[in-house]
């Protein structure tokens, strides 16, 4: 499916990450934005509103983040691609509805522009400390997809990608941006509408009375219908059977919830994307994602300049985590260096997936500015020198 030209602002534009996100959403066909204003995510709504008329898009500023995501899920069932934008405290409030989105298997996109936490934290500084929350923040079992862009261009591209994943797997997809990207002005190339590939929603086309909202196709994804088409379906956040009727026992729970996990776990090959550089001969691989990969990439080049065999593994999809690729690399390298703008989250996954075959260095990155490479370089130097494998993560201070 091709993009609708009314939402595509073809050309090269100098955009902040937030603006690029709004453009990406409109290009992807997003026509409903439900938000509650929170720094540093404000500009997404502003941009979206500025372009709403041309693209015939609907906007609502709700009374809080709880209702913002509720409205987005509701809107998605009308057939409109829908999105919400928030930051840490708002994401925390959305946790209950993230679960509802998962349970109703509703395609939608949640953009989290991360800022320093916990609590009110620091609205004006970037962070990557909501990564684990995106994966684990709602109660009950689920899997979701989280993408981490590292530039305005990626913000644009990944927003489209996020919508495609959400339609493909009928799942809320998180875009984990941060304050640094949000306000970074960069050139963004927006292609022609016909060059943008979109995943169409999977609609049910059988007879009206034979529609079962949660009857899965072979690939575990149930087709959808819009409200108002006469299917008269029922869906519930309670554990339900294929008809969407609540049944509360173990068997139904297994039937209902296990596929929610499996529909992602079984398709990791299709979902996971990593960008690698110089990993073939590397002794040390820097694992990074989001804005941090900018520094990671620079550090790799500087280290290469010093004659060190350093590679870079950039996670495009952070969740699901590229377990196998990290385990493979662990066989070959001496150490992983993981810079994150938090106090240790994704590094735990790297530790898990390196199976004791490589050391894992963690750098709580960000102290000297997002793009500063000093700490990473020092960690690489140290990593090269350590020959034995240590128990646990080596915290680099």
């Amino acid at each position: 499916m091709k993009a609708d030209p009314s939402g595509v602002l073809t050309g090269t534009h100098n955009l902040s990450g937030n603006q690029a996100c709004a453009e990406g959403a409109l290009s992807a066909g997003c026509r409903f934005l439900g938000v509650y204003p929170i720094a540093p995510a404000l500009e997404v709504s502003e941009r979206f509103l500025q372009r709403a008329k041309k693209a015939s898009a609907t906007f609502i500023q709700m009374e809080d983040e709880i209702s913002a995501l509720a409205a987005v899920i509701g809107a998605s069932w009308t057939g409109k691609k829908s999105m919400t934008v928030t930051s840490g405290p708002g994401l925390s409030l959305m946790m209950e509805h993230l679960g509802l989105g998962i349970m109703l298997e509703t395609p939608c996109v949640i953009v989290d522009v991360q800022r320093v936490g916990p609590g009110l934290g620091l609205p004006s500084q970037p962070s990557q400390a909501d990564m684990m929350q995106a994966r684990w923040g709602s109660h009950g079992d689920y899997e979701l997809i989280a993408l981490a862009p590292s530039s305005s261009q990626e913000m644009f591209d990944f927003t489209i990608k996020a919508f495609n994943f959400s339609e493909r797997f009928r799942i809320p997809v998180a875009i984990m941006s941060d304050q640094y990207l949000a306000h970074l002005q960069e050139d963004v190339v927006i292609p022609h509408a016909e060059d943008i590939r979109l995943e169409p929603r999977r609609y049910f086309d059988g007879p009206k009375d034979s529609y079962l909202p949660f009857k899965r196709d072979e690939d575990m994804i149930p087709p959808m219908v819009d409200i108002g088409q006469g299917y008269k379906f029922h869906v519930t956040g309670l554990t339900h059977d294929d008809r969407g009727y609540p049944i509360m026992d173990e068997e139904c729970q297994e039937l209902n919830v296990h596929p929610l996990v499996k529909k992602i776990r079984d398709y990791t090959d299709e979902i996971i994307e990593v960008q690698e550089a110089n990993t073939e001969d590397a002794d040390v691989v820097i694992v990074s994602y989001g804005a941090t990969s900018r520094a990671a990439f620079k550090a790799m080049e500087q280290a290469r300049g010093l004659g060190l065999k350093v590679g870079s593994l950039k996670l495009v999809t952070v969740w699901p985590f590229p377990e196998e690729r990290v385990a493979e690399l662990a066989d070959k390298v001496k150490a992983f260096v993981v810079p994150e703008m938090n106090l240790g989250q994704v590094v735990l996954e790297v530790e898990r997936c390196s199976y004791g075959k490589a050391n894992v260095f963690f750098i709580a990155h960000g102290e000297k500015g997002v793009e500063n490479t000093d700490d990473i370089l020092r960690a690489i130097n140290q990593a090269v020198q350590v020959d034995n494998i240590k128990d646990g993560i080596i915290k680099f201070r």
């Binding site: 500025q50 372009r51 609502i60 409205a71 987005v72 069932w77 829908s82 509805h97 409200i227």
Partner: protein, 297 residues
């Protein structure tokens, strides 16, 4: 699970003399989910019956109506009506419905939920949707208690009434729901008890045809918890109480509608006015935005 028969169920039963005749409510109810979970003597079934009758009377295209419920006994209504129906999270039915209405203004949106769901945890969405005047009908079945979780105090529990989390009597004055709806901006506000089935049905019809945020409060007996904890007898006794104490006062000032424990219940249609809806305002705003002015360069 077998549930002892209730008034509601008896009505649904097919007339034995003409077995092949389709029951009039069959096109509105999910017959494959009957029997329902409501207890004997519960009034929710009556409210649903009135609603089903109203749908027919209002001549609404059943494929263009969507019903959203929250959590609780009344929250289960969405599961029993054969319409596009959503059983959402606790308190958020109105927020969810707002998304639907704003994204697809062609739909008739009905929120059918309980007092705890709409007014306690969902109070914020209630007042904001009223302020924005989102075009929807909110049916609030008020049974004065949280019944699904077993009889906790609600923001509608009358003063001094007992509940499990106020074992020594309720100390918080209850909300006057019509007054709250009125002061937040609702355009249609009515209150009836489930004894007033015909008037309740008419209120639903009027509200369904009204453009804007309409609230119909349906006072309903909870025989299992509220009546039992307060020793008020069964569902029938509650109906008798409604019969003896409900007073119809259409057009009454909403501030006079407080309900005391086993006191008088004033019912009627209180508010019926016009205000621009959210979608009207949004479209008006969009129309004012000139072609290029709002477009980034």
């Amino acid at each position: 699970m077998q549930t002892p028969k209730t008034n509601q169920q008896k009505k649904i039963q097919v007339d034995s003399s003409s077995m092949d005749r389709i029951h009039p409510m069959e096109n509105v109810l999910r017959m494959d989910r009957i029997p329902h979970i409501w207890c004997p003597g519960c009034g929710i079934g009556l409210a649903v019956t009135a609603f089903a009758a109203a749908l027919e009377k209002a001549e609404i295209d059943l494929s263009k109506i969507v019903i959203v419920s929250g959590i609780g006994c009344t929250g289960r209504v969405a599961g029993y009506v054969k319409l596009d129906s959503f059983h959402t999270t606790h308190g958020r039915a109105i927020a969810f419905a707002t998304g639907i209405k704003v994204a697809n203004p062609d739909m008739k949106v009905v929120v059918f939920s309980g007092d705890g769901d709409l007014i306690a945890i969902g109070g914020n969405h209630f007042i904001h949707a009223a302020r924005r005047n989102i075009d929807m009908l909110v049916v609030c079945v008020n049974n004065f208690i949280y019944a699904m979780t077993g009889g906790q105090v609600a923001p509608t529990t009358p003063l001094t009434a007992y509940a499990t989390t106020c074992p020594f009597g309720c100390v918080e004055p209850p909300f006057n729901i019509p007054y709250l709806a009125d002061s937040s901006g609702a355009v249609y506000v009515a209150r009836w008890t489930t004894l007033h089935v015909r008037r309740l049905t008419n209120a639903f019809v009027e509200a369904l045809n009204k453009k804007g945020f309409s609230v119909v409060e349906a006072i309903s007996p909870c025989a299992q918890y509220y009546s039992r904890i307060n020793r008020l007898g069964d569902g029938l006794d509650m109906m008798r109480y409604y019969h003896d104490n409900a007073e119809i006062r259409n057009g009454e000032d909403t501030k006079n509608l407080d309900i005391d424990f086993q006191g008088k219940i004033i019912v009627g249609k209180f508010i019926d006015r016009e205000r621009p809806s959210y979608t009207d305002r949004y479209n008006e705003w969009l129309s004012k935005v000139k072609g290029g002015e709002n477009e980034p360069g």
